[in-house]
């Protein structure tokens, strides 16, 4: 069963949110999502400086089998993207909660987020 990292919060669209300094959060996608997608071969991330809105699409994740929208779990301005996953998207499968992080946002507000327990219960993950 896919691992759900206990220290993170999650959106219904399978993004995780990790609090960094101040109002900055890191965002990635859960192992539940990467398991369902299969091997990820391409990721399209929002540009640094662009505005993202909670619950709206801000990029795409493409696996061998399909293309899925990437939703921002928070509203704010993108401050950083992970250049490594653009070159090596397999990192998102191999380390979704670590080296496979996607982008950071200086968040003004957050969409509805679930605790790890709630997310795992809802999506069949394992804490």
């Amino acid at each position: 069963m896919a691992k759900v990292a206990a220290e993170l919060q999650y959106s219904d669209e399978h993004e995780w949110v990790s609090r960094e300094d101040g109002n900055v959060v890191s965002i990635g996608i859960s192992a539940v999502a990467t398991d369902a997608l299969g091997d990820i071969v391409y990721v399209d991330l929002p540009e640094v400086g662009s505005a993202v809105t909670a619950g709206e699409t801000c990029g795409e994740v493409e696996s061998t089998k399909s293309v899925s929208d990437l939703y921002s779990p928070v509203t704010g301005e993108v401050t950083e993207i992970n250049p490594v996953v653009i070159e090596d998207p397999a990192l998102i499968n191999n380390d979704p909660y670590g080296a496979g992080w996607l982008f950071k946002v200086a968040a003004d507000s957050e969409g509805p987020l679930l605790s790890a327990e709630e997310y795992a219960a809802k999506n069949g993950g394992e804490l």
């Binding site: 398991d35 299969g38 091997d39 071969v41 391409y42 493409e62 061998t64 089998k65 399909s66």
Partner: protein, 387 residues
């Protein structure tokens, strides 16, 4: 849709497979990484459960001429022991299914025997069409029997450069030459050591991956034991259980059509590049002949309509089924299958495009959800193994 389970379902569960519905069957999509499974087949070997495929025996004194009537190919010209790729068409020339026909030795009464292998979702339709055609074709009908043994038969494929070496470990030395001497698109009965006991099984050198490889027909009761025996004689890392995801990416690289994607009742064989499979010159009538002759006469797939082509992506984004193909912003075709090619490292797709844009080298775009991505027409297959 009815859920069917193959005799190997428990094996797949033990291996941690994720499952998908395919043609009404719960089939392993992948066991771990589909990319790793793909590369394993190209570089060493993979083992696949293909038990969802149909197996229909057509036997009797008239079996050969009956199949000439029922299918598009000249089946009567097949030598015993050979396999042949063919099509079953309807009267309108539409494709009911693509299938492989194996000619087996005649029985003691001299009755011809053919094993017809249709796709999973079409097995019943094909068996029924064959039975129906046997009675209706001509006065008195054909003296044949149609026996659909799909539900009792499993099919295991071992594909990849190491496939032969691995399978030989289960075959007695006296029969090794039967395997090593088996030609592509041929089949032979071979004695396999299955769970410690000898069992005669039909071994075919056929596949859907673009690699050397085999498909083994086995009764359901011995399927799990055969799967386990093959896995047990392979060395560590030599043989990788592989699911339908890698099967699809492998066949796409090999430029092989998939029924439902490239082939359909609405499509025609000439547009699909399968003109050589249609034996318009064979003696007598066959189902779909008049319509197919008219399509050919009209230049289907050559001077009129659309034609199936390969598209190579110049960027990183892959086209997917049903995405529009564009030329200068105008729709000139549609993608039937597409994804990033794991072996080649660039996106590949098959698409039907207007014949005017079907020449290799033609620059086309695929509409990737509103964004035009550049592709180029290339000859199929995308990937060909070095012999």
């Amino acid at each position: 849709m009815t859920e069917n389970y193959t005799a190997l379902y428990e094996e797949h569960k033990k291996l941690g497979a994720s499952f998908t519905d395919f043609g009404g069957w719960q089939m392993p999509l992948k066991y771990g990484s589909e990319l790793a499974e793909h590369h394993a087949v190209r570089n060493s070997a993979g083992i696949f459960d293909l038990s969802h495929m149909g197996e229909v025996w057509v036997t009797g004194p008239d079996a050969a001429e009956f199949l000439d009537y029922a299918l598009a190919g000249k089946i009567s010209a097949m030598a015993v022991g050979k396999a042949k790729y063919s099509l079953i068409c309807n009267e309108a020339g539409g494709i009911i299914d693509d299938l492989i026909v194996y000619r087996r030795p005649a029985d003691d009464e001299g009755h011809h025997r053919f094993l017809v292998v249709p796709n999973a979702g079409n097995a019943k339709v094909v068996a029924e069409a064959l039975a129906q055609r046997a009675g209706s074709a001509r006065e008195g009908g054909f003296e044949i029997a149609v026996d659909d043994v799909s539900d009792a038969t499993s099919l295991i494929a071992v594909q990849g450069p190491k496939a032969e070496e691995i399978l030989l470990r289960l075959v007695p030395a006296a029969q090794h030459e039967l395997v090593t001497g088996l030609k592509y698109y041929a089949a032979v009965e071979v004695s396999f050591l299955v769970g410690g006991a000898s069992r005669n099984l039909l071994l075919a050198r056929t596949g859907y991956t673009g690699e050397d490889g085999f498909e083994i027909f086995v009764e359901n009761d011995a399927a799990a034991a055969l799967w386990q025996s093959i896995v047990a004689v392979a060395d560590e890392g030599e043989l990788t259980p592989s699911g339908l995801a890698s099967r699809d990416s492998l066949r796409l690289e090999a430029g092989m059509p998939l029924y439902g994607n490239e082939l359909s009742l609405e499509g025609d064989p000439f547009a699909a590049g399968l003109g050589p499979v249609v034996a318009l010159s064979k003696e007598g009538d066959f189902v779909g002949k008049a319509a197919l002759a008219a399509k050919k006469e009209a230049g289907a797939g050559s001077t009129s309509g659309r034609k199936l082509v390969g598209l190579k992506g110049l960027g990183r984004r892959a086209g997917r089924g049903h995405y529009p193909v564009l030329r200068d912003g105008n729709v000139v075709g549609e993608v039937t299958s597409g994804q990033p090619s794991p072996t080649l490292g660039y996106p590949v797709a098959m698409a039907y495009v207007d014949v005017a844009y079907a020449e290799p080298g033609t620059a086309l775009d695929i509409d990737l959800r509103g964004k035009a991505e550049p592709f180029e027409v290339v000859a199929l297959p995308f990937y060909k193994r070095s012999k």
